[in-house]
């Protein structure tokens, strides 16, 4: 984060030097800061409402999906959040979930219908715990700020390079010729440095941004393990999500991508190695780390497991690594039946219909009629027993 800010400020400084002469460094700084501030104000004032609307998320209450609501409330209690996050469902078969909200008081959690259809209770709990950890660590604010900084850097260098291109096309001489011959040469060097900075800074910013995003993912995984005391839940959820064949989410953009539990952009091939240009660590590695946590569920245990699996230094900030005794819990018994999964899918379909204003009617012959909201007549005929049923409301 601080590194990205440094990149932004340095870029502004060099562009200022190159563009406006030796005194222009400060002016460049001011421009860089202004761009950053304006972008930040826009995105912070727009808030998560736009994001949720863009992903076509529908709010749900306890009545619509008691289990989802309960699981979120459980995690809210475990994390000690000051308020219950708002819950949304996205009607999309790709299993995924994300959290938004600048602070823990006004957070929201959204899950896709595909996720609800596939996971059992423990796995759902793991995924929700991951999202609640994002909220608890204020990752949404963190990643948004970093994203804006990235945007500012890209924008600034783009403007500069374009400006250079056009001014050289028209052959216009700029103010810096006033400095005299010696000054002009120094100016030329400055200009070259500025161009180099404008080309390199966005690349560096991208790499820093992705590294930051991946680190926050690991941290949220560690938080999820600590909240649930059951890393296996999240591990098997991640595995299920990774093996899913449905097409990628229809409503994602690059800015919100780090907030999802797994990268919403599907790649042609699953890369095994840690990838420098990805917002998320490889799922196989995340699963391995979680499964390797045999001693306990604290941040320290996760960090140890991380070092063992990846053979690198830990990504967990040292302040979280206090020694604490956090015992793992056992799995709750789960029935693994195919039939059950199909039923679960059908139920999720019904939930989506209820969210979208469908009316449910059970005929005396036992057939369940699902009536769309644009059905205008006040009577409906049962397709099985041909009885006419009244439609109230």
């Amino acid at each position: 984060m601080t590194l990205m800010a440094a990149v932004l400020l340095l870029l502004g400084f060099f562009i200022g030097l190159g563009f406006f002469g030796p005194q222009g460094g400060f002016f460049g700084l001011v421009i860089a800061l202004t761009i950053w501030l304006v972008l930040m104000l826009i995105s912070l004032s727009q808030g998560d409402a736009i994001l949720l609307a863009a992903s076509k998320a529908k709010p749900v209450t306890h009545d619509v999906h008691p289990q989802l609501f309960n699981v979120v409330e459980e995690m809210k209690i475990a994390a000690g959040l000051p308020a219950m996050p708002k819950i949304y469902i996205i009607n999309d078969p790709a299993p995924n979930a994300f959290a938004t909200g600048r602070n823990p008081q006004t957070a929201s959690v959204a899950v896709t219908a595909g996720l609800l259809g596939r996971l059992n209770r423990d796995e759902l709990q793991g995924v929700i715990a991951h999202e609640i950890s994002h909220i608890l660590h204020r990752d949404i604010l963190f990643v948004t700020l970093a994203g804006i900084m990235l945007g500012s850097i890209v924008l600034l260098s783009h403007i500069f390079l374009r400006g250079m291109f056009y001014s050289s096309m028209t052959g216009s001489r700029r103010r810096y010729s006033a400095g005299g011959a010696g000054g002009g040469q120094a100016q030329l060097i400055m200009l070259i440095v500025a161009i180099a900075a404008a080309i390199l800074a966005p690349l560096m910013a991208y790499l820093l941004y992705f590294a930051l995003s991946r680190r926050r993912e690991y941290l949220a995984d560690a938080g999820a393990a600590r909240l649930t005391r059951y890393p296996e839940g999240l591990a098997s959820a991640l595995e299920k999500i990774a093996s899913d064949k449905s097409p990628q989410l229809t409503t994602v953009n690059k800015i919100t991508a780090p907030m999802y539990i797994v990268n919403p952009f599907k790649k042609k091939r699953q890369r095994k190695l840690s990838d420098l240009t990805s917002t998320h660590p490889p799922i196989s590695e995340r699963v391995k780390i979680l499964r390797n946590m045999t001693g306990g569920a604290s941040f320290k245990d996760y960090s140890d497991s991380y070092s063992e699996v990846t053979h690198t230094k830990t990504v967990i900030p040292p302040t979280a690594l206090t020694k604490e005794d956090v015992a793992l819990r056992e799995a709750s018994a789960q029935i693994k039946k195919k039939e059950r999964l199909e039923k679960q899918f059908r139920q999720v379909g019904d939930i989506m219909r209820r969210v979208n204003g469908f009316v449910f009617l059970t005929c005396v012959c036992g057939l369940k009629l699902k009536i769309p909201p644009n059905f205008k007549a006040n009577k409906v005929r049962c397709p099985r027993c041909h009885k006419t049923l009244p439609l109230s409301a």
């Binding site: 309960n70 459980e74 000690g80 819990r329 709750s332």
Partner: protein, 185 residues
């Protein structure tokens, strides 16, 4: 004269730091109380759910009078508990009775297919989980608070204003200590 100023500054600094520590202790104590009330809310909710559960299951389980009686007794004992340690014991016993009941339920497939029962079951599972998560967070807070009032220098302020240690909320039986699990489906 300069010595007087130095003494005055030291006294003022001391008073400020005492106020700071005192406020921190109050905040921690309130957090502990708040987490305790979270457990309390969930325990009450479990008490409220039990009649519902018994009512739904009764029609299907004609020959399990003893099980129902055990649940009802455990519930009234838990509701009558006064102190934290008493409550831990009674609630632990109630949790155990409930998980035994859920094992018995496995023998009644009709009951397990009943929509109302499934709904009560989901609520009960979730309440059990909420109890254990609330307990988890309460114990974390208590540990933090107890450490604070025992460690130097905050222990001086704690003694001055009579901050007492808090009890952990442990469930009594060995089986329940691992995890209060009523797990179905």
């Amino acid at each position: 004269m300069p010595a007087l100023i130095v003494v005055a500054v030291i006294v003022v600094l001391l008073i400020i730091s005492v106020i700071g520590v005192y406020n921190a202790l109050i905040r921690l104590r309130n957090q502990v109380d708040n987490s305790w009330s979270q457990i309390d809310v969930q325990l009450k909710r479990r008490h409220d759910l039990i009649p519902n559960l018994v009512e739904t299951a009764k029609g299907y389980m004609k020959h399990e009078r003893e099980t129902f009686e055990a649940i009802t007794n455990a519930r009234s004992q838990a509701m009558g508990a006064k102190t934290v340690s008493e409550a831990s014991k009674a609630e632990g016993a109630l949790g155990e009775t409930l998980s035994r009941f859920m094992l018995v339920v496995e023998n009644y497939p009709d009951l397990k297919a009943n929509q109302n029962f499934l709904a009560v079951q989901e609520e009960l599972t979730s309440t059990e989980n909420k109890i254990s998560f609330a307990r988890q967070s309460y114990n974390d807070q208590v540990l933090f608070f107890n450490n604070k009032i025992q460690m130097f220098p905050s222990n001086i302020v704690a003694n001055m204003f009579n901050f007492g240690k808090r009890d952990f909320f442990e469930l009594e039986s060995a089986a329940e200590r691992e995890v209060p699990k009523v797990s179905f489906s």
